[in-house]
């Protein structure tokens, strides 16, 4: 079987499938160990209860559902909350070492919208620890990893996915994999925006490939803005400033020196959920109380230099080196940055199976767990819990089926698409088109959206799609990033269109999706997820009822009082299944 992507989810899936006896090939676009998981800083959310013994999976489950504004898949949230502690312990058996309590257990820190101190961490380089541990395990198990290979098309026999096709980045040769099952673990699509914490790899290619092949894309409009990205100088705009800064006690002030989160969320303050903090910073800037470069100040000076250097070493280094700011003596300037895609391929909670036989998805590329807003730290645990589940399910599936047949026409068709930019006499520059797309998304489908901005954005996407057919790249197929960008651009355009179309139809504000023309939540929309699907090469939209929570889980929320602003929609009312025209 084939795993596309070697971040946390892909590697965890490969480990599980391999343990189940499957022969696994892993493909990744970069070198092994460079995937975007490495950028995760703050920690892994798991209700171990090491620091706050009151914590348990039920509370974690509730926090996750509340954070996601109840359009999450409850079953995924349940599995995630129940299983993440074991996944964390397991990671230590691969060689990871988290920061520790004085009595030798895993230390946990506070994070936004988590009721208890729950994030297992290693300073502010948790993602590195995780990726290195998984990487070591992969090597120990002898799993084959094909580095610097980009896959661009899923190969199908009838409805079933039987392999994938793409190219080797180094020499440009085409590669085809024939496999009984494919797991998509390709991460998100932050690169469709201009100001993002994502690396070049976040082009949404795995999800777009799945979409092209006929799988459903859930909640594409839900794009998370991390409240704190770097603002200045321009070269570093968007680079992540970990939430651990606030978890360790950092606070936000505006240009008047006022700690504004006391007003927006007096209870959780800076550790409110990411959507709320991001919006608060945006509002402060809009009201003219922003910092010099349009952000807010994030202050940790009161923690003292020693604690800062011990708990936030890479933040200290990052600001000192890239922005000439010593965070032990000066505040950091921060503003929201695109960080995470809550949306992705629609999967079955238990198995990660998509709507296509033989195709699985896990991690950021899959959707459902986080709903309208992801809590910090839930991503790394998502990778482990659902990476393992997808690996196990695909591993079982490949025992039941034989190899499929590769359709040569699909292969030659994709070859033509790939070769076009090298041979065509077009004039469009793939990088500049990509920049224009990023600008369009930033302007029209950003943190604050409205019908008009979204429609303008859609027009620009459709125009760019036309122009993308005329992209030309000089040089050969040998390690040619321009050529690679030309294909990435097509994926990004597909994803961007899905984001914008769904964002137009969600005429309400919910979680990360903030509509200036519909500031309130619409209860009827709170009972549906939007699904983008492929119909003859066009992005179409439909709705699907949010899965209904069983009463024993719904009860958990009832206990916290009916007046709670974030309680689930009444379970009894029939879900709306309206069809949206596009």
């Amino acid at each position: 079987m084939l795993v596309i992507g070697a971040g946390g989810a892909g590697m965890r899936a490969a480990i599980e499938a391999s343990a189940a006896g499957a022969h696994v090939d892993v493909v990744c676009k970069s070198l092994l160990g460079k995937a975007h998981t490495v950028m995760a800083e703050g920690g892994i959310a798991a209700a171990l209860g090491n620091v706050d013994p009151e914590d348990n999976w039920q509370v974690h489950f509730q926090d996750t559902m509340r954070g996601g504004q109840f359009i999450n898949n409850w079953r995924m949230a349940e599995l995630h909350a129940r299983e993440s502690p074991d996944r964390v312990y397991e990671l230590e058996t691969y060689g990871a070492i988290f920061d520790r309590t004085p009595d030798g257990r895993i230390l946990q820190r506070a994070f936004g919208a988590h009721t208890y101190r729950r994030l297992c961490h290693v300073g502010d380089r948790t993602g590195l620890e995780m990726i290195r541990s998984l990487q070591d395990r992969i090597v120990q198990l002898g799993i084959e990893v094909h580095m610097e290979v980009t896959l661009t098309r899923l190969l199908k026999e009838g409805d079933r996915v039987v392999g994938a096709f793409g190219y080797n980045r180094i020499d440009g040769r085409f590669v085809a994999f024939r496999s009984k099952a494919v797991i998509i673990a390709t991460g998100g699509w932050g690169r469709t925006y201009k100001v993002t914490s994502n690396s070049w790899e976040g082009t949404g290619d795995g999800v777009a490939m799945g979409f092209d092949a006929g799988a459903e894309v859930l909640d594409p409009e839900m794009v998370q803005f991390h409240p704190t990205g770097m603002v200045w100088p321009p070269g570093v705009r968007g680079i992540l400033v970990t939430e651990a800064v606030r978890g360790e006690g950092g606070y936000l002030t505006n240009s008047e020196g006022k700690r504004f989160m006391l007003e927006y969320d007096p209870k959780k303050k800076e550790l409110s959920s990411r959507d709320i903090v991001a919006r608060s910073i945006y509002k402060e800037v809009e009201a003219g109380r922003g910092t010099e470069h349009g952000g807010a100040n994030l202050d940790v000076r009161h923690l003292g230099a020693d604690k800062i250097k011990k708990k936030l070493p890479s933040m200290y280094e990052q600001f000192l080196k890239l922005a000439d700011v010593d965070i032990t003596t000066d505040p950091m300037e921060v503003a929201p940055t695109i960080h995470y895609a809550m949306g992705g391929l629609r999967v079955e909670a238990e198995t990660g199976a998509t709507t296509l036989p033989g195709l699985y998805a896990a991690g950021e590329a899959a959707a459902g767990l986080h709903g309208a807003n992801r809590l910090g730290g839930n991503s790394l645990s998502d990778l482990l819990v659902f990476g393992r589940r997808a690996g196990a399910a695909a591993g079982a599936y490949v025992r039941e089926v034989g190899l499929g047949k590769i359709d040569e026409r699909q292969v030659t068709g994709e070859q033509q698409i790939l070769l076009l930019p090298l041979s065509a006499d077009g004039r469009e520059n793939p990088y500049l088109l990509q920049q224009q797309l990023q600008q369009a998304m930033q302007d029209g489908a950003g943190l604050a959206r409205e019908e008009k901005s979204l429609k303008t954005c859609l027009d620009r996407i459709l125009e760019l799609r036309q122009r993308s057919a005329r992209v030309h790249v000089p040089g050969s197929r040998k390690y040619n990033p321009g050529w690679h960008t030309a294909r990435d651009l097509r994926f990004m355009l597909t994803i961007a269109e899905a984001i914008v179309r769904a964002a137009i139809e969600r005429r309400e504000s919910r979680g990360a999706h903030w509509r200036l023309d519909y500031l309130e939540k619409d209860p009827s929309l709170g009972r549906v997820n939007f699904i983008a699907y492929n119909e003859g090469g066009h992005v179409k939209l439909k709705t699907r009822p949010v899965p209904e929570m069983p009463s024993e889980l719904a009860k958990l929320f009832a206990e916290t009082g009916p007046s709670s602003p974030a309680s689930p929609p009444p379970a009894a009312s029939p879900p709306i299944a309206q069809q949206v025209r596009t």
Binding site: S30, L31, L32, G33, K34, H36, V38, M39, L48, Y89, E90, E92, T93, Y94, G95, I97, R100, P102, D103, G104, V122, G127, L128, E129, R132, D136, R137, Q140, M147, I170, S199, W200, E201, W232, P234, G235, V236, I239, S314, E317, Q318, L322, A323, D324, N429, P430, Y431, L432, Q435, V473, P474, G475, S476, K478, Y479, N480, P481, G482, W483, T485
Partner: protein, 366 residues
């Protein structure tokens, strides 16, 4: 140059002066041939070399090959030689060069693929030869590891695998002898495994043999270029050299170490001693602990002596049969972990037979 004008703040107060463009000489070529090509890039405040390379890629040379990912010095992809020095492009500010031209070339210790991209696959092959983390089969999960025992490992685990240390290493670079030495990166990896509190494997014969630790002559170039500031030579290579020397060349000590698990007569290993002196260990009778000495055996506390030392019984496995041998006196610094009371830990719960033997051999020296 018909490029967008730089921001008004560009170059202000920096070597760049009045917004004059940056001159970049980027190596371009494939496999065996190539030369520098000159580009002019408008300067933006805070610009790093990778920004400049991206600008060239987007505007002048779409097919310019370079690796990068995070652009925040966390992934170690964009390694290159900048004005002759191995560095990360994402972490190197252009303003530190003033008005000088910036020369950007590929890492030279590895075969060139194209432009700034080299074939680093050798590193991944080396990595496969290192036996991975090997905990004891009966190590209870979740692991208990005391902070003072994990502290030193963090430094090694900060490594982002940028391979700049491999690039600058004389053995790998000048003599081009990659068969003789694994290189600094893998000394760091082996150090991380060797110092892991729960690892049970010995890698000193590997270090002495194939890994070639003897090839390193401690010039410390590797730790100078490390973007994560890992003291590669001081904290990884030298301690491993000592360990290897002891195991390979000093059979007397080796045997003594076997016979004297409490490490009497080894005052040189002060880091452990120091850590032990301040360790906030809390021990009670019947606690299960793990010993730091060879074999890393489990032991259970029989009593806590007035001077703080522990009287323990050491667990020896013989198939399914467990022997608790002792009593033996150990210092708290000889113990890596406290798992808590025996009944809770569960060791002994699955006993088939249990022997308590009086075992005097050399134990009383401690």
């Amino acid at each position: 140059m018909s490029t967008k004008s730089p921001s008004p703040l560009a170059g202000e107060g920096r070597g760049g002066g009045s917004g004059s463009p940056l001159v970049l000489q980027i190596f371009r070529g494939e496999t065996n041939s190539g030369a520098e090509q000159r580009f002019e890039v408008p300067v933006v405040e805070g610009m790093v070399v990778l920004d400049a390379v991206h600008y060239v890629q987007a505007n002048f040379a779409n097919d310019l090959a370079c690796r990068w990912n995070c652009k925040a010095a966390k992934c170690g992809s964009c390694s290159a030689e900048i004005n002759g020095r191995p560095r990360l492009m994402c972490k190197t500010r252009v303003d530190e060069f003033g008005d000088r031209e910036i020369h950007v070339g590929p890492m030279r210790a590895f075969p060139l693929i194209k432009d700034l991209v080299t074939d680093v696959s050798w590193n991944y092959e080396v990595n496969k030869q290192i036996p991975g983390f090997t905990p004891a089969a009966n190590e209870p999960v979740p692991y208990r590891m005391l902070p003072e025992d994990t502290e030193r490992v963090y430094e090694y685990r900060k490594c982002i695998e940028c391979f700049l240390c491999q690039d600058v290493c004389h053995v790998l670079r000048n003599h081009d002898d990659k068969s003789a030495y694994y290189g600094p990166r893998y000394m760091v990896r082996i150090a991380a495994l060797e110092m892991h509190p729960l690892d049970t494997r010995k890698r000193t014969s590997l270090l002495h043999g194939k890994a070639g630790i003897g090839m390193c002559n401690i010039t410390k170039c590797c730790q100078e270029v490390c973007p994560e500031h890992i003291k590669i030579t001081d904290n990884a290579i030298i301690p491993l050299k000592e360990r290897t020397a002891t195991d390979v060349y000093d059979p007397v000590t080796r045997i003594a170490r076997k016979l004297l698990p409490s490490r009497a007569g080894q005052p040189s290993e002060s880091p452990d001693g120091l850590a032990g002196a301040t360790a906030p260990q809390r021990f009670a009778v019947k606690d299960v602990v793990r010993l730091k000495s060879r074999g890393r055996r489990f032991a259970r506390v029989a009593s806590v002596l007035p001077d703080g030392k522990l009287e323990v019984w050491v667990l020896h496995m013989n198939g399914q049969v467990q022997h608790w041998a002792g009593p033996k006196i150990v210092r708290t610094s000889d113990v890596t972990n406290n798992y808590g009371p025996l009944d809770e830990v569960g060791i002994g719960g699955k006993l088939v037979e249990q022997y308590i033997t009086e075992d005097h051999a050399a134990e009383q020296h401690g």
